[in-house]
């Protein structure tokens, strides 16, 4: 179409175009091509988000099975189910998979799916980068697991301390696969973080000023900034490790002037914020679920947002509490004690606001709320044991023991996985159009809660009575036998809880009750569209007048009663950009079509990354296909799509 064409063919939503016609045209503009090609080239954030969810959950189950294998080995003293070599690979794979391939990607998955819906826009920012990030993440995960199956799985822990992980003490390729997996997943995580930041800053529906942003979105925004600042540290350190191993640099070799502790500083500068990168999105789940089921707007919105920011900042000042035993100066350690203790204050504020919301509401105890209550019970205990770990003297006893294993499972399963299951039950209707069974949900919660506490509470005591972490076996007669057996029994019940969930999903996908747009009577924008949402998310971009837009409607009015803004093109992919603070309409911006180039570029990146495990030349020759991929991806279109100012 040339510039001279009759402007009448440019169709915009609004008066003059009927609802049915608008929807039909939007569906055509935003459609993903059918068949395998469409599957490979899609840039729809909902499809990519669903893939992330399914893939991350698969890794969760796999890593959970590894945990079961470890519990079987440790059920009694001196058992020989697993050899030390196998056990070391298994505990490394468990931690690595849970942290890099499950927890962070799962939280990103929810951000990818929900943030655009919650802020009321048609698509995520940089949708092709989004598709690319998924393929890179998938490739990294598959590479690691194929290596593990081929007995080349990493065996030096998810933290890969040098010099144990260095070329001298870990010859072979095991550690290289680990380090390269980090590179893969960090590329993916950084891409998603940038998308979320831009989506939240520039694509919020008109009227969604900063003080009306849903807390889930705030959580994801703060998390994304943490990713942007934390992930480079681990990419730098893993790249230095790869160079030490591949081309003989000596960053971490003390014999050549390198430093073994440098690794720990860099790794934990990432590793501690990582915990909050996992936890803050989960607080978003809690802050979404609670108001809906307490049927009351969240108490302390401003305090909760500030708590997110405080956690985000303090989270970067704690890393040395992972290194209290390394002999750093004691005055320095004291600062990190204070910072680590201080983070209890924003966490305490969050807990208070959530309980207060429940207190003042009229709760309906559906499964999502059960998981939120379970979250408070479990996470608070983990937070309190965290206060113990902040103390240098206490940490010097329990550091690297089962006490720490208990602590961080209370924090991570309690703080992230309980809310995550709540989120599954809460948003499953939105994702699929069907409800999960509430009856099975109660069983799921019960088994998970009991199994979890039975598995992990005894570990506190085990650590105090001397059992170190990461041991494939322990001697009889030290007094650890009974508690280990108890923990193994708990792990089996926990696994049964997860199996119940999988069964519930399996059954409900086909036979679940049809959900409708807003089955829970929730207040945020993702419930203002159909379940599952159409490819273009909303027929018209809503105008936001409160923190819970759907609750500002007069009672009984359906979501269609929301005020809307018109004027976006319906015959092309177009987004409404708004200003950062007040979300005033600013620009109309084209959004990219489906493309195969993100997949091809991801494949080129994969070839380069995996090749460079074996030869540095892969970086040189691998750059060629990657350049081709990127050139294809960014090839200029004619006529160029350019943002246009909002006229009306």
């Amino acid at each position: 179409m040339t510039a001279g064409t009759d402007t009448a063919v440019v169709r915009r939503d609004g008066p003059g175009l009927g609802e049915a016609e608008t929807n039909a045209r939007l569906a055509r503009s935003w459609a993903t091509p059918p068949g395998l090609w469409g599957w490979l080239s899609t840039v729809d954030h909902k499809q990519v988000g669903r893939r992330y969810v399914v893939t991350a959950f698969t890794f969760f189950v796999l890593a959970g099975l590894l945990a079961l294998a470890m519990r079987m080995q440790l059920a009694g003293p001196e058992r020989t189910l697993l050899s030390p070599d196998r056990y070391n690979q298994i505990f490394t794979m468990h931690g690595t998979t849970m942290m890099f391939l499950f927890a962070v990607p799962m939280m990103e998955a929810f951000a990818i799916y929900l943030v655009p819906l919650m802020v009321g826009t048609r698509a995520i920012a940089f949708p092709r980068l989004n598709a690319f990030s998924y393929w890179v993440y998938l490739a990294g995960g598959i590479m690691l697991w194929v290596a593990f199956i081929l007995n080349v799985g990493p065996d030096v822990g998810w933290f890969s301390y040098v010099p144990l992980a260095g070329p001298q003490y870990s010859p072979g390729k095991r550690v290289d696969f680990w380090a390269q997996m980090v590179t893969f997943t960090e590329v993916a995580a950084l891409a998603v973080a940038v998308e979320i930041i831009v989506t939240v800053f520039k694509q919020r529906a008109p009227g969604m000023s900063l003080n009306r942003i849903p807390l889930f979105v705030w959580g994801q925004l703060v998390t994304s900034f943490m990713v942007v600042f934390a992930m480079p540290a681990v990419m730098v350190s893993s790249s230095m490790l790869i160079m030490d191993r591949l081309i003989g640099t000596h960053f971490f070799n003390p014999a050549e002037g390198g430093d073994a502790l440098l690794w720990q500083h860099l790794f934990w500068f990432f590793g501690h914020p990582e915990v909050y990168i996992i936890f803050l999105p989960a607080t978003g789940f809690v802050s979404s679920i609670l108001p809906t089921f307490a049927r009351r707007p969240i108490f302390g919105y401003t305090a909760l947002v500030l708590a997110l920011f405080a956690t985000g900042f303090l989270g970067f000042g704690l890393w040395v509490h992972h290194m209290f035993a390394t002999g750093l100066p004691h005055l320095g350690n004291s600062f990190y004690t204070a910072a680590s203790m201080a983070i209890a204050i924003p966490s305490g504020i969050q807990i208070f606001c959530w309980i207060a919301t429940l207190w003042d509401g009229r709760p309906r105890f559906a499964t999502p709320l059960l998981f939120v209550i379970g979250f408070i019970v479990v996470f608070v205990l983990g937070g309190l044991s965290g206060i113990m770990l902040a103390s240098v003297p206490l940490d010097s006893q329990v550091h690297d023991t089962y006490f720490v294993v208990a602590h961080f499972h209370y924090v991570l399963i309690g703080g992230a996985v309980f809310p995550l299951f709540g989120a599954f039950y809460y948003w499953f209707p939105k994702f699929t159009g069907r409800m999960l069974s509430e009856r099975v949900g109660a069983w799921n919660f019960g088994l998970f809660f009991v199994g979890f506490n039975l598995a992990f509470f005894p570990m506190h005591i085990l650590g105090l009575i001397g059992m170190p972490r990461r041991v494939y076996s322990y001697p009889a007669g030290v007094g650890w036998d009974e508690l280990n057996l108890l923990a193994t029994a708990g792990a089996v019940i926990l696994a049964a809880g997860v199996a119940t969930f999988v069964g519930n999903v399996w059954h409900s996908l086909k036979h679940g009750v049809s959900a409708g747009d807003n089955p829970w009577g929730a207040g945020t924008l993702e419930w203002a569209t159909s379940s599952p949402p159409p490819s273009y998310n909303f027929t018209h971009i809503p105008v936001v007048t409160g923190q819970e837009p759907l609750w500002t409607l007069p009672q009984g009015l359906p979501a269609q009663g929301l005020p809307v803004v018109g004027g976006l093109r319906v015959d092309q992919r177009e987004l409404l950009l708004t200003t950062v603070v007040d979300a005033d309409p600013d620009l109309r911006e084209p959004s990219p079509e489906p493309s195969i180039w993100p997949l091809l570029s991801a494949l080129a990146v994969t070839a380069l990354f995996i090749g460079s495990i074996f030869t540095p030349w892969a970086v040189v020759w691998g750059a060629i296909p990657l350049a081709v991929g990127l050139i294809g991806w960014f090839w200029p279109k004619s006529p160029p799509d350019t943002p246009e100012p909002v006229i009306d």
């Binding site: 709760p363 019970v377 006893q397 506490n453 009575i465 990461r470 007094g479 508690l483």
Partner: protein, 342 residues
């Protein structure tokens, strides 16, 4: 939600009932000044934080179950924010945050105090022991200003009761962590660095220490015995360790010594008083006086010693000691010889 609590108190009761808390590797059964102070701090933290936990659980329980006003709508908010309630809750939040801050400050102060107190021992050390961690055993050297009065042992540390001992910590290969929970918290041994800690035993006893930083294949079997003994017995033990190995007393032991000095054994081990002077593996000059074998893997006995020499890779797979092809007679001789090295 009270289930976690019940499990918690049950676990605690269980712990107190079990012999575990009184164990040879327990931070809750202190036998030294530092471990004692830390255990005291632990019970204090536990008490304060348990009260906090109970308050949160009580709040949650009441929030979830308190009676409500009637007239709930099926969907959506039952009522919007009410000024009065919001104000009251905000007051509560402020009090809660201030309370949290006060508790945190108190606990931080207590932690600092204990930390300083523990460090106060550093300058009072009367003895120096140099521990070098190797995959997967501990080389232990008793340093003395008179070089000829220094000696080496492995996988065991003996301490005189009541005497602060400086432990100098080094690593020859990867990062390890030195941890004897009954006496003190852990300190890492890091290649390229020298760390220090101080131990003091308040009472006699035999304790178990273990490497607490993952150090590879046999991290699980890298333990050491710590024996606290009265000063006079310690001095006697020290004198005995300073003496060279006893000469073999019978034919079998003599033959065993010959085998030891001509087989692969001599390539790695030292026995003072013989030509064996290699420093790859543990010093065996007084091996039979030690409580355990292979860094706490097996209790010391003649039978375990024979089993260990016959096939160290079966007992501790991946360790650095190779299988030495000895005939049964030779093995018997070597075991008899080593068993005579008290």
């Amino acid at each position: 939600m009270s289930r976690a609590l019940r499990i918690g108190s049950l676990g605690l009761a269980l712990c107190l009932a079990l012999p575990g808390c009184q164990g040879v590797q327990s931070a809750l059964d202190p036998a030294g000044h530092q471990a004692g102070r830390i255990a005291g701090l632990w019970w204090l933290f536990l008490g304060v934080l348990a009260v906090v936990y109970l308050v949160v659980l009580a709040g949650l329980l009441i929030a979830a179950s308190r009676p409500r006003r009637r007239g709930v709508l099926p969907n959506g908010p039952s009522f919007a924010r009410e000024e009065r309630i919001e104000r009251r809750l905000t007051g509560g939040l402020t009090a809660w945050a201030v309370g949290t801050g006060a508790i945190i400050l108190t606990l931080t102060g207590l932690s600092y105090a204990v930390d300083r107190d523990i460090l106060g021992l550093t300058d009072k050390a009367e003895l120096e022991i140099e521990v070098t961690a190797k995959q997967w055993w501990w080389q232990v050297k008793y340093n003395d200003p008179v070089p000829s009065r220094s000696f080496e042992t492995a996988n065991e540390i003996r301490l005189p009761v009541g005497v602060p001992v400086r432990i100098v910590l080094k690593s020859q290969d990867v990062i390890h962590s030195f941890w004897v929970p009954n006496l003190h918290g852990k300190t890492d041994l890091i290649p390229g660095r020298v760390n220090e800690t101080t131990l003091v035993a308040d009472r006699e006893g035999r304790f178990r220490g273990q490497c607490a930083e993952f150090c590879g294949f046999q991290h699980a079997n890298m333990a050491l015995d710590v024996v606290a003994m009265p000063r006079d017995r310690f001095d006697a033990w020290r004198e005995s360790q300073l003496s060279p190995a006893a000469a073999p007393a019978d034919d079998l032991a003599r033959q065993g010594q010959q085998v030891f000095l001509s087989a692969a054994c001599v390539m790695c081990h030292t026995i003072h008083g013989t030509t064996a002077a290699s420093r790859v593996g543990p010093d065996l000059t007084h091996v039979a006086s030690r409580p355990s074998l292979a860094a706490g893997t097996l209790p010391y006995s003649k039978g375990n010693l024979a089993g260990w020499i016959a096939d160290p890779q079966r007992i501790k797979p991946g360790n650095q000691m190779p299988i030495t092809s000895l005939s049964p007679d030779q093995l018997q001789g070597v075991v008899a010889y080593l068993d005579s090295l008290k």
